[in-house]
């Protein structure tokens, strides 16, 4: 096995399945449904399946500010990862903090709603203001600066915002910086909170499936929105007992075909997967299994499956998708799906594709319908996003 890459020594997660990687893995093992049915707008009668973090509505109400809710979720995931990594506050001092998110719209939305609803603003300013309140949409980076200060992190603080590949690219950036020796360790956080604005946007593009996500299925109709936060602690590769999981290859490429969809023939997906595999110095036949992006829109699953078929020349390894369990968590999916996948491998299985039932003849390949036993090897993790932003990571287990 290649000795390239960086170790993953701690993972933490908060998702629609609840807090903790263990809870998430149990949901996946049992195939439990963690979705809620919600209405998007008074003008749309149809209700949509959405994967909310449990208790988020009460937590948002209870929180005096939007940041209180957001920070609590992020810190919960970080804490779990730190416990697993046996990391303390000293460990954090020279750590890098790299957050991947599509932009923290919920924070702006909560403020907007609070200010519109109540002149006695809950965020403690602009008292007596009448509506409409001005929108204070701070840039995505302020959350990372705030979290770094709360955690006492003095290393580099970076926010990557490349839509649905944000936290996958955060891992890629961390991997590169650690491998080059710029930093010794990093906490990568993927965080995304559902905003009405984002849901409305996906609906306007007709990309939502009211019935939930059915990756690679003949009857797939689109996305099931999700929210989650995951933390992944990475450090320089050393031969230690923690050396069970490592990120050993990565690639990011931009498909300029269309801002919202990939080349249907799979060429772009093929290119990025091949580049990641080549970085490790392995061949496609060395890949044990694939965690597909599996967004469940007709075009993007066709493109991804096309890329897989091209790369493996008709002999694709087992592949699966996780968005049926936790929804599409946009910028967080890189981190949360990596954490979920590692959690499943740790529990001894490669998860089946929740939501998939019938093969699509146009695709010609089917994802896993039952859990498989996990084994040592190289796993390819795909993340594709708007803006043609495609990222593949290679995870080594064992």
């Amino acid at each position: 096995m290649s000795n390239k890459g960086v170790n993953i020594i701690g993972i933490g997660a908060v998702s629609s399945c609840g807090a903790g990687v263990k809870t998430l893995v149990e949901h996946i093992r049992e195939g439990l449904d963690s979705t809620s049915l919600v209405s998007i707008s008074p003008s749309i009668p149809e209700r949509f399946k959405v994967s909310f973090i449990p208790g988020r509505e009460e937590a948002v109400k209870r929180a005096k500010t939007a940041e209180e809710f957001i920070d609590a979720v992020i810190l919960k995931a970080v804490n779990e990862a730190m416990i697993q990594a046996e990391a303390d506050s000293k460990f954090l001092k020279d750590c890098a903090l790299i957050i991947g998110s599509s932009g923290f719209m919920l924070e702006a939305e909560i403020e907007y709603r609070i200010k519109n609803l109540s002149p006695k603003s809950l965020i403690g300013e602009q008292k007596g203001e009448t509506m409409p309140a001005p929108l204070a949409r701070l840039g995505a980076g302020h959350i990372a600066s705030r979290i770094a200060r709360r955690l006492g992190i003095n290393g580099p603080v970076i926010t990557i915002t490349t839509a649905c590949t944000s936290s996958a690219n955060a891992m890629l950036a961390a991997g590169g910086m650690i491998e080059r020796g710029d930093i010794k360790k990093a906490i990568v956080i993927g965080a995304e909170f559902i905003s009405a604005v984002t849901v409305s946007g996906f609906n306007s593009l007709m990309l939502l499936d009211p019935g939930g996500c059915k990756p690679f299925d003949a009857d797939r109709r689109g996305i099931q929105m999700g929210e989650a936060c995951a933390a992944i602690i990475m450090e320089k590769k050393e031969k230690t007992s923690k050396d069970r999981y490592s990120l050993c290859g990565w690639a990011n490429l931009c498909d300029t075909h269309n801002v919202v969809s990939s080349r249907l023939n799979g060429a772009s997906a093929y290119d990025v997967m091949l580049k990641a595999i080549k970085q490790v110095g392995i061949e496609p036949r060395d890949v044990t299994a694939i965690k597909a992006h599996g967004i469940a829109t007709p075009d993007n699953d066709t493109a991804e499956a096309g890329g897989i078929s091209l790369l493996f020349d008709g002999a694709a390894p087992p592949f699966t998708a996780l968005k049926g369990y936790i929804g599409h968590t946009l910028g967080a999916c890189g981190a949360i799906e990596t954490a979920a996948f590692i959690g499943c491998l740790d529990a001894g299985f490669i998860p089946r594709t929740f939501g998939f039932s019938e093969i699509d003849p146009a695709i010609g390949i089917a994802p896993l319908k039952t859990h498989l036993d996990a084994k040592r090897g190289y796993y390819l993790l795909n993340f594709f996003g708007f803006g043609g932003n495609n990222t593949s990571l290679v995870l080594r287990y064992g």
Binding site: S102, T256, G387
Partner: protein
């Protein structure tokens, strides 16, 4: 001195200001907050594409990147990474989207507003216009966004991940000022601005106009001050230590202060670095999170007759500071 493995050369640069100014002759000193210029025709001319549905923010970005690419002496390599940075991203389309969805009518967002507000959209259009399908990363880290993107670009070139890099930064302003101030906190005397700045970087020195010397971070004051030391003086020591090893007798040295750097930090630095002169680029572009990109790229507005050193220094509201050093080469005869 933070000597890197191999030199990273600046092959071209472009800085686009609020009045669509892209050359020294076009620069105008801003007296008040500028209005946004219409870039649609410029984008069409530069790209030969009809990007009519993209927002103003993407237009500024595409314009800057295209000018930088056109100023290169050679065609851009297909293995060029794009390292885009922004503090606030697409402001106007995002605000309009919030009003569509959360306003009195609680309606639905228009697909184009939504797509334009997505964080990877602008770098997609930059890549599409440049016909580049290589690495494409967007960084958003408030006042230090461009510096971080530049550092990622520098290290990716150094380790061979990409042959060349196109790091850039852009932000747009919005009116009224009072509302924009909720997104970027400025003092009353500071003019709000917008624009974009881009550098084409590579390892080959042929036709290079300059060299990227360093991108260095200075930690926040609480990390600098060990014991009972004076925070300002400790900061000045560290900042001057980062810059002074590069200074030579035969090169003029300029300090480019970012918009968060206050008077006492600027004056303190000038005291420590008596050879340095101030170059105030902010008077042309105004204040915005990625003004550093404009400032550093505008160093190359005109060919240099002699080599010169430029050091951009800026901090964020949390007290972190980043220093970027570039050397401008004299123009080749």
């Amino acid at each position: 001195m933070d000597k890197r493995k191999d030199p990273v050369y600046i092959l071209s640069a472009s800085a686009v200001g609020p009045n669509a100014d892209a050359t020294a002759a076009e620069r105008r000193v801003l007296k008040t907050d500028p209005e946004s210029c219409d870039f649609q025709d410029i984008v069409r001319q530069l790209t030969m594409h009809d990007f009519r549905r993209i927002g103003h923010f993407s237009e500024i970005s595409v314009t800057g990147s295209q000018i930088a690419i056109r100023r290169m002496a050679h065609p851009i390599s297909p293995n060029t990474g794009i390292y885009f940075s922004t503090g606030l991203g697409e402001v106007k389309k995002t605000v309009s989207m919030f009003e569509q969805v959360l306003g009195h009518e609680e309606g639905l967002v228009s697909p184009y507003s939504f797509v334009n507000s997505v964080s990877s959209t602008t770098s997609f259009y930059v890549a599409k216009a440049a016909r580049i399908e290589s690495r494409n990363i967007t960084v958003s880290q408030e006042e230090l966004s461009f510096e971080i993107a530049l550092r990622l670009a520098q290290t990716d070139i150094e380790d061979g991940t990409v042959d060349c890099a196109l790091p850039g930064g852009a932000d747009e302003l919005s009116h009224p000022r009072s509302e924009h101030m909720r997104r970027i906190k400025l003092e009353d005397r500071q003019i709000m601005g917008e624009g974009s700045g881009w550098l084409c970087l590579g390892k080959n020195s042929r036709n290079a106009i300059g060299e990227l010397l360093m991108v260095k971070e200075i930690p926040a004051p609480e990390c600098l001050c060990r014991g009972n030391g004076d925070v300002l003086s400790e900061w000045l020591n560290v900042a001057a230590d980062a810059i002074s090893p590069w200074i030579t007798e035969h090169e003029k040295t300029y300090l480019l202060p970012g918009f968060r750097l206050d008077k006492k930090h600027i004056e303190g630095l000038l005291n420590r670095l008596p050879q340095a002169e101030i170059k105030n680029y902010l008077k042309y572009c105004g204040c915005f999170h990625t003004a550093a990109a404009f400032g550093i790229a505008s160093v190359f507005d005109q060919p240099h007759s002699e080599p010169a050193l430029y050091f951009h220094v800026n901090s964020n509201l949390y007290g972190r500071t980043m220093v970027v050093g570039v050397r401008a080469f004299p123009a080749q005869p």
